[in-house]
């Protein structure tokens, strides 16, 4: 009933296969794909950081350090499965195949969610903490009720587990037997609050016990174990085996967002120690050490990552004009008379402004 006291891992920080045999190592093509996506994700993340410093994004919460969780989780999803991400999970969304510009719509401030949740079977990035966990349970359970072969993966942070909604989500999932996997990215911090001020449980995976759900503790910087365990849990969920809680122990290398100042609450040394457990380095070491990747392939991946970044740079240069009238477009299925009135008011204001602009001598 209790999760393992130590995080499960398949590949250790030095890129060596661990002694753990409870899950098979994913096949080479999956490992290579995990690596490739992590390299691209890291590059994308760096690009987003740069755009933020240039003032092109309103805010950016970095995924740096958490690529193994996000990518391991997303690649484990089957074709009919759904994903419910948070604000932190840009790299997960990129990996999900969502247009990077649509991923950044929220953070750029053009609109709230930038992509079509149905097209990508992906909920909007969720900011009110833990609320998405309930949406995930609901959607999973709806699929179960319909008899569809669908499982759902929801991403949440360590801090989010303290919210009442996390508890209610775990409990509803257990009671309904909903096909949902809760992947907790325990990155050690909720903004400035360390895990030891958040919970006294031996691990967050232990929370599963109180719901009669299996809890798994994994090394969140080992993409192979995250993939394997989430894959397993999703399969089990689809087969009617109910929910699983997976805690992936990882680290947020950057500040909480660009607006944050981590020097106020944590040591550089802690960061440095975690850099030595980098998820990409270790996967690369494993792939190299086992002859699964060569320099040419690596260069190819890096070039692809540069291309993605260049594409983002390029496309983010274009102005993302949003028509003011859209303010009123999506509040109800049909605009209410009230909103029509207000839309007309704004339109008149804008027309008047335009007239004034034209009056200004050239």
């Amino acid at each position: 009933m209790l999760p393992s006291p130590q995080p499960l891992g398949l590949i250790d920080p030095d890129g060596k296969r661990t002694a753990y045999r409870g899950h098979p190592l994913p096949p080479p093509e999956v490992l290579r794909e995990l690596h490739r996506r992590m390299v691209i994700g890291r590059r994308f993340d760096r690009q987003a950081g740069a755009l933020t410093r240039q003032g092109r994004l309103a805010v950016y919460p970095s995924s740096h350090g958490q690529e193994a969780c996000q990518i391991g989780g997303v690649l484990a999803l089957g074709p009919g499965d759904w994903l419910f991400p948070t604000y932190r999970d840009s790299v997960a969304l990129l990996t999900r195949g969502i247009d990077p510009v649509e991923v950044l719509t929220l953070l750029r401030g053009s609109w709230h969610s930038g992509y079509d949740p149905y097209r990508y079977k992906t909920g909007p990035q969720c900011t009110p903490l833990a609320t998405n966990a309930l949406h995930a349970v609901g959607l999973a359970d709806a699929a179960r009720r319909r008899g569809d072969d669908v499982a759902v993966l929801v991403l949440m942070g360590d801090g989010a587990t303290s919210e009442g909604d996390a508890h209610e989500a775990f409990n509803f999932a257990a009671v309904y037997g909903a096909p949902v996997v809760f992947l907790i990215q325990n990155n050690g911090w909720a903004i400035s609050v360390p895990l030891e001020k958040q919970s006294k449980a031996p691990t967050l995976a232990h929370k599963a016990v109180g719901y009669g759900i299996p809890g798994r503790l994994v090394d969140g910087n080992d993409a192979a174990i995250v993939y394997a365990v989430v894959h397993d849990a999703l399969e089990k969920a689809r087969g009617g085996g109910g929910p699983t809680v997976v805690e992936a122990v990882t680290y947020r290398i950057e500040a909480h967002t660009n607006a944050d100042d981590p020097t106020r609450y944590r040591d550089d040394e802690e960061v440095a120690a975690w850099r030595r457990r980098d998820p990409i380095d270790r996967m690369e070491a494993y792939l190299r050490g086992n002859g699964l990747i060569d320099d040419a392939a690596l260069d190819g991946v890096r070039a692809e990552a540069e291309e993605v970044a260049a594409g983002v740079r390029e496309r983010m240069r274009a102005d993302d004009h949003v028509a003011p009238a859209e303010l009123f477009a999506h509040v109800y299925a049909e605009q209410t008379p009230q909103l029509r009135e207000q839309a007309a008011l704004l339109a008149a204001e804008l027309a008047a402004d335009a007239d004034v602009d034209q009056e200004v001598p050239a």
Partner: protein, 325 residues
């Protein structure tokens, strides 16, 4: 048929479940018990526990899972057991239910109904009698409706379930056992329109839900005093039917809005403000509000003093500066 409001609501849910396989009904005690007000009586038996079922005891969980279910194409109709017990779901309602369509640029609709028995007048103890409508009407993206008669209860709930927008459906507890004619064959007035319940020429009484009947009684009494009062049942609290209301007040030149909720920042404030904005030069007197006092809902021993009754409405009518007529 003649039915109580509770029975009319029950019939509406039954017909929705029958006609649309995507409708599901859930909440606390709505299954075998049939709800503490019996509004879901017999539904679990008739449609099975997969379509009408009891949830764990957690309102945020109920509403939050309903969001996910609606995203997947179901049409959840959830019950909050009493007004004040919807508050744990407030974040899900305000930040997701109301906003999902807007957040996703119109891509994700949430056709769902949150049924909330509300209001007092039933001798209920604390937390069982709140009039919480203003919390929802101030939240864009929600439709907020409340029936005042069994016929409206039936038809408005059917329309709410069919609506592509999320609807907060407020059920006036004290009217659950009131009887009236319900004809499931004759479609009702659209739920976003107000209805003139009684015609009059001197003053417009604006009421909804639990207070419609009281307003009608006040109009009766007013007639005896020589005032012809028009009574409008607002029905849709959000959006507001300006057309019907404005036409009436422009004609009568006087208005009183009535509700149980505390007056301060209550729904009546909006009604008074917008009617005044739109009818200012037709008004002989300010639009008056007759509402609950600005206090927490009182214990049963005192509720009669708190709740607006016929006398208090008549007093307000009397204060409408008839000398200026």
């Amino acid at each position: 048929m003649i039915a109580t409001m509770a029975a009319a609501l029950n019939a509406a849910l039954r017909d929705c479940l029958r006609e649309d396989p995507s409708v599901i009904v859930f909440g606390e005690d709505v299954g075998p018990l049939g709800g503490v007000f019996r509004v879901t009586d017999g539904l679990a038996r008739e449609f099975g526990e997969e379509r009408c079922f009891d949830t764990p005891l957690a309102e945020s969980g109920i509403v939050g899972t309903a969001v996910g279910m609606a995203m997947y194409g179901l049409r959840p109709v959830v019950e909050m057991q009493f007004d004040a017990f919807a508050y744990p779901a407030f974040e899900q309602i305000a930040s997701h239910v109301a906003k999902m369509r807007n957040r996703t640029r119109g891509r994700v609709a949430l056709p769902m109904v949150i049924r909330i028995p509300y209001g007092g007048g039933i001798g209920g103890v604390e937390h069982h009698c709140d009039s919480s409508e203003a919390y929802y009407t101030h939240t864009a993206g929600l439709r907020v409706v409340t029936p005042g008669t069994p016929a409206d209860a039936y038809w408005m709930l059917r329309q709410a379930v069919a609506s592509p927008d999320p609807v907060v459906f407020l059920e006036p507890k004290r009217r659950y056992w009131a009887r009236g004619e319900v004809d499931p064959a004759v479609p009702g007035t659209p739920m976003d329109r107000a209805v003139v319940r009684r015609e009059g020429t001197d003053v417009t009484l604006l009421a909804y839900g639990p207070m419609v009947q009281t307003a009608l009684e006040a109009a009766e009494a007013a007639a005896e005093e020589g005032w012809s009062a028009e009574v409008i049942d607002l029905r849709s609290l959000s959006p507001f039917d300006d057309e019907t209301v404005t036409a009436s007040v422009r004609r009568t030149g006087r208005a009183v809005v009535v509700h149980e909720a505390q007056s301060f920042c209550g729904y009546g404030a909006e009604v008074a403000a917008r009617v005044t904005e739109r009818c200012f030069h037709h008004l002989h007197a300010p639009v008056l509000r007759v509402g609950g006092f600005d206090i927490p809902y009182p214990p049963p021993a005192l509720e009669e003093h708190h709740l607006p009754g016929v006398d208090r409405i008549l007093d307000a009518v009397a204060r409408l500066q008839w000398e200026h007529a």
